[in-house]
Subunit: 372 residues, 4 copies
């Protein structure tokens, strides 16, 4: 049923709750012989980890990853290498202030999964949201590092996956200002320095008011060869939609022109093709790099919208588990804009989907370097 | 790998090309004992089928369905009933004017999957788009009928799935005018009679100009009990995103507030809860009926954007299969707005996803009537 | 759930009942570009088909296969070639004498699935055993032809799959007489001409007495490269066990030494290795070509035991669907030794498992020609 | 691809190598609300664990299990209960004497997976067999405990799963002496006290001679309701065959009469049915409780043969990784009859298959208490 598993061939299964002993991921189907060092994974986790600025939760988690299996090193392997066996990664939870959540065990927080988990399972681990916590995404980021390495292993040319925030609250970036080199210069992964300034101000206001803001994340993969994907339920875009929508708080996914595609004319929408340097060259990228569910060789462009953090300090109407009307004010340590931490998660999901499709393509079609 | 299969437990596999002998679907995992008559499926196919108005392709296909297996009737079964064995449905192709496509076998139509199929597979069935044709969706609509029946079988209370067009080209409906009873009164499934008038005019213009328009489809399921879905990669919204994005020409999927959720404040976004008639009652539905990937008992609201039909009469720049620059003008019989026919397909996908989640829920949690 | 589907990457789904309109199979994940002609499949079906001798059921089925999708031909493809899309094959049922089964609809035939289908589903298609009939294996044989072609496509060197009957009733072949060229010279696929003579006599006795006999089928694949398979639940032998046990009437599966392995000493059992012509060479094959779930390059040797046909003319004690004790005598047209027709089915399942593992190996490890 | 995952709905994924930091299992799809205490799992692990007698490996592993996720306890849950989220279990390795294996890193041990792992992956974790070690089965036994609890949760009446050794080397038990109460009275899980005596003597001889013995394990499940299983590739017996064949060193699987079924006449084989206490009652159980792939309500009877341990002290001919002929003598700590420890593993696999089929049945057919 694959409830907590993603992928067809490069498959990963995550486990763990926000305030349990640990969380982790098991990756199966990874090609052998790939060098995987704990420090590579650690570097990615450090980028995502809580406590980095005042704009993310103040929970202090070192997020130290342990590689428990699937990687082997001796004096002949020249570094720890994947063996083809399942790779088990574990991150221990350290800073679980479970008492913070004691008073919400009986009340359903609006916008959270408290009510629906109880409705489904009849009980829930309410500490920090349990399984529904965005803390699970640490496991995705760890797995994403291995996915990127797997992708590099099977492709001749490198794939470059980048992600950024293109909207915070109602404030979009100005595409004229777009500059990838800006994303590490502000706490928002914002590619527009002007927008970053505005966001800082607006998010600080929201944070101080005990409120929160939503966001839109854009993930771009460059260098993906034409030919990844498959009809009809194995479409690359269908898998990306599932991947991004599985991220906590995601409410929409767009490929290329996305929702705006509806308003285009047929002439505007269909990307024309010319030859350049002996290869097909598209004159625009409304398609977001995917035609008929299969990559075209253009940049794969995906966006997803994340709702504002549901944990806010304003008291809100709700009910108790026994059906009494009440109010709740969510204390605890929360991100005023959970979308910020969604940036590395979106990039990780892109890597995971592409690695899986690279292997799927290799399975059915043999070569990973299509004719075009 | 499930390339052409969808679902975990209620699984269906479609096959067939636009201009092959036939197309079809095999449904596996369907509960036994459900009455399925060919005429029930036929009625749904008739709604979707080509040739219904001047706004859809003029290809004449009777779309007659045959039930080849999985259903049995004798004097004790009181109608043809599912046996629990795979249900095979077949629709023969009748009106394949393959010669219409003879001149495009060497040229890649912009916006179509011609180029990417060749890049992936090294050859393609170019007749009418082959496997990438929206003709495949007839199989989904047929399967959707059985999904709806399965859903009714496992639930105490009925689920009501409806779909409509809420935007054509840049023209959105006025939500004030929204009326479900309107959707059968115009050729667009439009719930706003004023918008329907405008669309008729605009689409006629586009059709005559040899152009095409995009659209946004909204699918609403009412009566879904709380508890369908699962963490983390088995989320109901993640599956809906995959389902809708797998539909031809889809470029975006929204749940509830969708892309607009990014612009809401935390206070606006989180739907408050009260009690009504002894049951939880939400004061708004920004969530689109899904929290933490699990249904809340509210209406499930999904929208997807469909790009304008890529087959247009305006000549467009493209290349040949051997890499020469050229132009193409797509003749043949096409929908000026393929989104119209996407309406029954979207409804069918909703039914298929919900039937699958109903059975998945029953598997893990036993009851299909959760506590709430 | 894959109830009626087999395989990871090269996946096939069968459908159809013994006395329905048709039966068929949908193959997904097949590599593109493979020439598949209806006559290739027909030749294999003709070998399996009923009515070939007095030792198999006298039902007259032409078993004519139709290729409905997934294969395309034009003047450039040099024969009908797979496109990478799902391949749908259909065989129509012609000679369904359903009235023969009218008197058994209320009685459970001992040894058949009548009772268990009713217990599970609450109803059953009792005509000729419905879904539980060995007629389903025609679809496997058809799919097996495509599997063999896929295998040839991905491997440099040919794989040779052969199957024979090595035991009928209590009468085993003499391994000293084993000669593959004999199997087409008798109606039993028997590699030992002396045993074939005896079997003819014994089976004729059983047939005339209205009784039936069991059998053991051996399937051997030569030329499989080392490296197919995977730990721990993806083992090649685990998949072969599942494949062969899924064949109607199968009650046991052996790999290599099989049950006899238990009685060997450690010294006798472990196949020693030497070098020959610059390649590893095993001095014996107790392992049946599989070590740790992965092929070793030796012959893959699988055997499965098939129980005697349960349809016999001797009256047997049973009950009715309403729980009354009664007797039943199974008339109709049946195989006195269903194991005979199990020979091509076993070979087909071997091809299907190997094709799937070839693609699985290519997915994870890239090359299909391992170092050894 | 499910390489290291087993099951459709109640799915588990194992990970870990013999001499890595730890090994473990992630169980997904488990019903919520089931009490799972570490001590329950520990008790089962203690039965399987190494070092119990002179007849099993002398490696000292405490095999202490940690429950890392999926179970939650507060003052209202009355014990730690499953939440429906993935259950992660971990067992740390303590006594890895990796130096014991240093001299075999370059030589392929006959009968082991050394050669095939290298052929497939190009490298291997040679310490103690790495992923191919029977140490992986500790994870199965741990998962099996939860499977048994899940089975008890969904069924009204208890299922009783028992396993024993019915043959060691060439020495079979005498069925006349069969007594389940004997299995805890000897170090072999032998139900025949006379055979147990003989085995002790024979295995001691083998052990002292540096040799090893094979075995046959029988697993019996009583109380399984009629209706578990499904056509055609989801057959209960096909899944049991896959499950048992996936156990290290297994070379054959039998259901009911097994290989002997081939030698029976149709009359002997088909189990007749009468009524007893208002329920169907079979007069024999040649079928091993499964007809048409679906349970009949009789005892499910499965046997599997395990080859003698390949690690023996006698020098054996082999080759090195670089293709030179050599000899090897396997030192280290090994089981003289690995089949002994296969007994709890076989019982665990039975529990895991049945739990999965119980949920699969509930998914498709609703009730877990079929009509019969």
């Amino acid at each position: 049923m694959s409830l907590n598993t993603f992928g067809r061939i490069f498959r990963f299964t995550t486990w763990g709750e926000s305030h349990g002993l640990a969380l982790g991921v098991v990756i199966d189907g990874c090609p052998p012989g790939i060098v995987v060092r704990p420090e590579d994974i650690q570097a990615a986790l450090d980028k995502r980890k809580p406590g980095g600025s005042k704009f993310v939760t103040q929970r202090k988690e070192p997020d130290t990853v342990k590689i428990l299996s699937g990687v082997f090193e001796d004096d002949r392997t020249d570094g720890p290498r994947t063996t083809g066996a399942p790779i088990s990664l574990m991150i221990e939870n350290v800073d679980q202030r479970s008492k913070d959540y004691a008073d919400i065990r009986d009340k359903y927080r609006p916008g959270h999964a408290d009510f629906t988990y109880d409705a489904k399972y009849g009980l829930r681990d309410y500490r920090g949201g349990g399984r529904s916590s965005a803390r699970e995404t640490a496991a995705r980021v760890a797995a994403g590092v291995i996915a990127e390495k797997a992708l590099a292993e099977v492709l001749d040319d490198p794939v470059w996956i980048r992600a950024c925030l293109v909207q915070m609250g109602p404030y979009k970036i100005d595409r004229e200002n777009f500059d990838w080199t800006e994303i590490d210069k502000n706490p928002f992964w914002c590619p527009d320095p002007v927008a970053a300034k505005l966001w800082e101000e607006k998010l600080d206001e929201a944070r101080k008011a005990g409120s929160s803001m939503g966001a839109v994340i854009e993930v771009v993969a460059s260098g993906v060869p034409a030919g990844f994907g498959a009809p009809v339920y194995g479409k690359l875009d269908a898998d990306l939609a599932s991947a991004m929508m599985s991220i906590n708080a995601a409410k929409a996914v767009e490929i290329g022109a996305g929702m705006d595609a509806a308003a285009l004319s047929g002439e505007e929408n269909a990307d024309e093709i010319r030859m350049r340097n002996g290869r097909p060259h598209f004159l625009s990228n409304k398609a977001g790099g995917i035609l008929g569910g299969i990559s075209s060789g253009q940049d794969i462009v995906v966006r997803f919208a994340v709702k504002p953090t549901s944990s806010i300090l304003t008291p809100r109407k709700t009910i108790t588990a026994s059906g009494e009307e009440t109010e709740i004010q969510t204390k605890g340590r929360h991100d005023p804009c959970v979308g910020i931490r969604g940036v590395p998660v979106g990039a990780a999901m892109m890597a995971l989907v592409l690695a899986d499709h690279a292997l799927t393509h290799r399975a059915q079609c043999g070569s990973v370097t299509p004719a075009f």
